[in-house]
Symmetry: C2
DNA sequence: GTTTGGCACTCGCGATGTATGAGTGCTAAT
DNA sequence: ATTAGCACTCATACATCGCGAGTGCCAAAC
């Protein structure tokens, strides 16, 4: 593909993103500043069509980019505009207001959606190491115990577990003290392993509590809420004409609810070093056919722990969205690290 | 309105709910089993139209009920079908699986939406008395303290508060012990009042911690998450033709997000003794123009603590929805009481 | 006087036709 | 290689028409 074709493709995509209408040869010739006649442009378009980069909705319409065309565009033709300082500050300020991690992620998601005018999504961080800080047991009625676990991330998790018999408050205190002394500051996974091991050794009365502790650690670890995301601004998507098909919109929203597919998609970016873009059917999910997803991983202390991004119509202002996602990922990362 | 007119209105509403199409005089004459000619039916329809109970979308269409017509229907003409035992058992079973209060409310909401095929909504319970069970302080870096409050409802709330200076773990322990001894089992509001009072009396060093405790109690109390609801199955609403207008749908979803209006509406049912129905514009909110909301308050230990319900198109199967909402409210109430 | 049959009338809806304009592909000239 | 010209295509908008469903009203019937 020669230079001229590139310029034309680029102009075409830019125009289409701006107006949402198929671009004809005349206006394209004018906008490209190449001083070409419409006829020449038509020839080039014909080539581009053969390459699968653009397509005509019908015989006598202009051309619109295909997913492949967008791909070339974002990979080689796009120049992103750095985000305005003012906006960055606003983002930073918004994040500063958040009181805890959940709030923080929520804010990030809302911001993504607000600034991009599309849907924002933030995967919950997978802290590879969940350190135990403190455990508390609280007896409830009917052989149930409320377990409160505080982890290094200042997150408080609580579960109710059912025990074989009733434990007195002092027994539970004893157990909690033991666990705290023994395991505070250690990895939750490790704790579980240790407890399992020591259980095999001796079968005292205390072990029953230990075993409940294992149950609990198990739950906290396995059913950890890490496989989830926070979505915001889905309603923004209503506004785009490409979402006018109510049935497709419904399917999209259902995918949001189902979470699995979206999570899987986000997961694919967890290895990437920067912004990544899935255009149209590239994602491999039918519901995202007319959507693009712009993602970026975010780091805590230089370790990637999660992914965030923006979901919107394929025809989105990539030059704006990319820096938005990029910056938000960085800001969220440092906000999390600071905590 | 005479007997005959009532039968006809009832038949008309039932048919319209079934088919979603304006009902003409001929089919209405047939379905009503009154052995009347279409012409007679037309005369009656004319009367009903004058009363504002039915309306014709255009001259040569059949009639459809107005909000007022639906109102008469549900108030005086409707016979509800009791819910199948099988379904009740399913609901009960689903609720039994929930591990904590939040789960329980979520399940109830999902169930409402699943069984009704519309959107389910459950207001968070307002436990008038939030009892303090236990307080824990945990020092964090940078003059921050993580406060964990366990209340009578087995809910664990946690906040991070910023303090004027750094407190040692033993100081915090001391404070927590003091608070627990003094105030465990008492109303959170009361605790706050007491602490405020004792602060005025003496100005010892301990008071600083006390004051943080007040801050915290304040937050827990005021910013209590009680003014909220759990919504489920909004996506079901996509399926109804009356929601085909994408812009209206958007507005509706935005109202769901905004929460205020919906909450206010639910709030109106908190005094009612049973199922309550808002039909169309009766709710007073423009976005709910084409929607009906069926609500019922739910009780814990015979005190009404919240409201749940179903939101769907005005043209819904009231005879099915009403018992669904009714039963769910009762089941949720007893599930909450049992906890 | 209530009920009914009859009849003219209305309106939405889908099918059909037509004009318009934007834009293309192709070819021949530059 | 580029361009002007021209025939052609197609979406869109708009008007027209026929059909069917259903109404309103009136006069006849019970």
């Amino acid at each position: 593909m020669n230079d001229r074709a590139q310029v034309l493709l680029r102009t075409l995509v830019e125009r289409y993103i701006r107006d949402g209408q198929p671009v004809g040869s005349r206006s394209l010739a004018r906008d490209s500043h190449l001083d070409l006649s419409p006829a020449t442009v038509r020839n080039v378009m014909s080539d581009l069509e053969e390459m699968g980069l653009v397509t005509a909705p019908h015989t006598s319409a202009g051309r619109i980019p295909t997913a492949k065309g967008y791909r070339i565009f974002v990979d080689t033709l796009l120049t992103v505009r750095p985000l305005q300082k003012k906006i960055i500050q606003k983002l930073q300020h918004e994040l500063d207001l958040a009181a805890n991690t959940t709030d923080l992620l929520g804010s990030a998601s809302s911001m993504l959606s607000a600034v991009s005018q599309m849907a924002g999504v933030v995967m919950l961080p997978r802290h590879g190491t969940v350190m135990l800080r403190q455990v508390e047991f609280l007896p409830l009625s009917g052989n149930r115990v409320l377990v409160i676990i505080v982890t290094n991330r200042q997150e408080v998790q609580n579960r109710i577990i059912h025990t074989a018999r009733t434990y007195s408050p002092s027994e539970l205190d004893q157990a909690a003290n033991f666990l705290n002394q023994e395991f505070a500051g250690r990895d939750l996974m490790e704790v579980r392993a240790s407890v399992l091991a020591s259980m095999r050794e001796a079968r005292e009365d205390m072990n029953r509590i230990m075993s409940t502790a294992i149950q609990m650690a198990d739950q906290v670890f396995s059913a950890s809420e890490t496989d989830d995301y926070i979505l915001a601004g889905q309603n923004n998507l209503f506004a785009y004409q490409e979402m006018a098909d109510i049935d497709k919109l419904r399917q999209l929203f259902e995918a949001f609810n189902r979470k699995r597919d979206i999570l899987h998609l986000l997961d694919q970016s967890i290895g990437a070093s920067g912004v990544q873009i899935f255009i149209g059917d590239e994602s491999g999910y039918g519901v995202l056919e007319d959507c693009s997803v712009v993602t970026a991983p975010y780091k805590v202390e230089d370790r990637i722990v999660g992914v965030l991004g923006v979901i919107g119509p394929t025809r989105m202002a990539y030059d704006r969205v990319i820096p938005i996602v990029d910056v938000t990922a960085k800001l969220l990362g440092s906000a999390l690290t600071a905590e």
